[in-house]
Amino acid sequence: MAQPRGRQTWLFERVYLLSSAAVVGPKEGEGPLRDDFDAIFPTSYADQSNWEKAEQKFLREACDRALEKSGIQKEEVGLFVAGDLMNQITTSSLIARALSLPYLGIFSACATAGEALAVGALAVDGGHASAVLVGTASHNATAERQYRYPTEYGAQKPDTAPCTVSGGGAALLARRPGGERPRIRISSATIGKVVDFGAKNPLDMAEAMAPAAADTLEAHFADTGTGPEDYDLIVTGDLGIYGMSLLRDWIRRRGIDLGDRYGDCGAMIFSREQTEVFNGGSGTACCAVVTFGPLVRRLRRGELRKILVAATGALHSTVSVQQGESIPAVCHAVVLEREEG
């Protein structure tokens, strides 16, 4: 059973990440992490008739591949936890319809991967489901259309703007070890509070999210009695290049030095030479594909032993921004560790 620790953290007794899969679009497939994704779609339409369908395809493909690798039959999965960026999280719900599994739809914007892992692990550790499938997907063009402008509209973006990642990530959690080896455990999760420092610019989400990341990391270290030195890698979801330096400085002022073990999924997924990357990757898929692809593979290869994934999300809508509300942000952190033997 999961044990509460401190104010915001749950410690899990037995939750294994049996398998995971990450599929991405062409731009992500040209980035520096391309060798550690399960599939790269050659076009952003992914053979579908529109971008919304392509986003659904990403999620479905990731779920199918994670299931296949785990060796678990779909019928054994007791719960599907998923979320995305679309209004009413239609991408997740349409895939849940196709999978025909008991389903909890969640929303934490780009921190969805963190929330999904925490909720999934909670259900597994509590014995409520022997296996849980978690997943999320986003698409550059669907996010542009919903949150910003039509994709072909010629608006000049500033260097603080994010580039939404096209892709999908999924993972299978279970109480009983199995699937891919060596084993990876989810040992704890820290649930973030919504933090708002008054940032109002939706083309600079790093500014809004960095204080939320600092808040959750601080709570995680305090609750678990650990420090940055206890992890081989600490990654935030999508603060990007400039957000990384913001968080690093801000959290140092509170007495925590992240040092050189700190990275950001959005800064890792694209290289700066790629066109129109701006501040780096973002979107629900950003943290998910980097974690479920490259990071999990590095854990299995033994290059990393214990990592802290702090998924960051900006919880605004276009309406809330136009009505003058500042951008609320949240960060959910999860610890993944390799089990030897």
Binding site: N50, G154, F197, S245, L246, W250
Partner: protein, 157 residues
């Protein structure tokens, strides 16, 4: 804002200063220079097209304006459809947003985007989403300018 206490407010203030120091600077001068010469080039192109219509199309100066604008719009719509306009505009900024080509891009990009939602409520209903404000405030501004002009003419007798 969610500052609950004086401490929160102090932290927010301190954070804002940090953001100001860290945020990548906006290249205002670079953007202005690019906008200036690209915008100028678009106008130049317009002049050139107008010249062609006057020379070979048998239009006089005033009548040539309409086919000139139509040609520029056609070019912008084609570039939008081929997915080139937004790339150029990212580089040129206001230089491609302010001329009539920017207006054509706003309408055609919205139309393309909404195609999957159907012709009537999708394309028809969304086409003016970006361009709508330009038309609304253009008409409103024209009304007031005309009003002022009429009053001035009346008053000066």
């Amino acid at each position: 804002m969610t500052a609950h206490s004086a401490d929160d407010r102090k932290a927010q203030q301190e954070y804002r200063l940090l953001v100001r120091e860290k945020r990548p600077p906006k290249p205002v001068i670079r953007n202005a220079v690019r906008a200036f010469w690209v915008g100028g080039l678009v106008c130049d192109l317009g002049q050139w097209i107008q010249g062609l219509y006057m020379r070979w199309g048998g239009f006089d100066r005033e009548a040539a304006a309409n086919p000139t604008v139509a040609t520029l719009i056609l070019l912008a719509v084609l570039l939008t459809g081929f997915g080139v306009y937004d790339r150029l505009a990212q580089w040129a900024g206001a230089g491609l947003a302010v001329p009539v080509t920017g207006f054509a891009n706003a309408m055609s990009s919205s139309a393309i985007e909404a195609r999957s939602e159907g012709l009537v409520l999708g394309v028809g209903g969304t086409m003016f989403k970006m361009a709508g404000p330009v038309i609304v405030f253009g008409v409103v501004a024209a009304f007031f300018v005309a009003l002022v002009r009429t009053l001035l003419v009346r008053l000066s007798g």
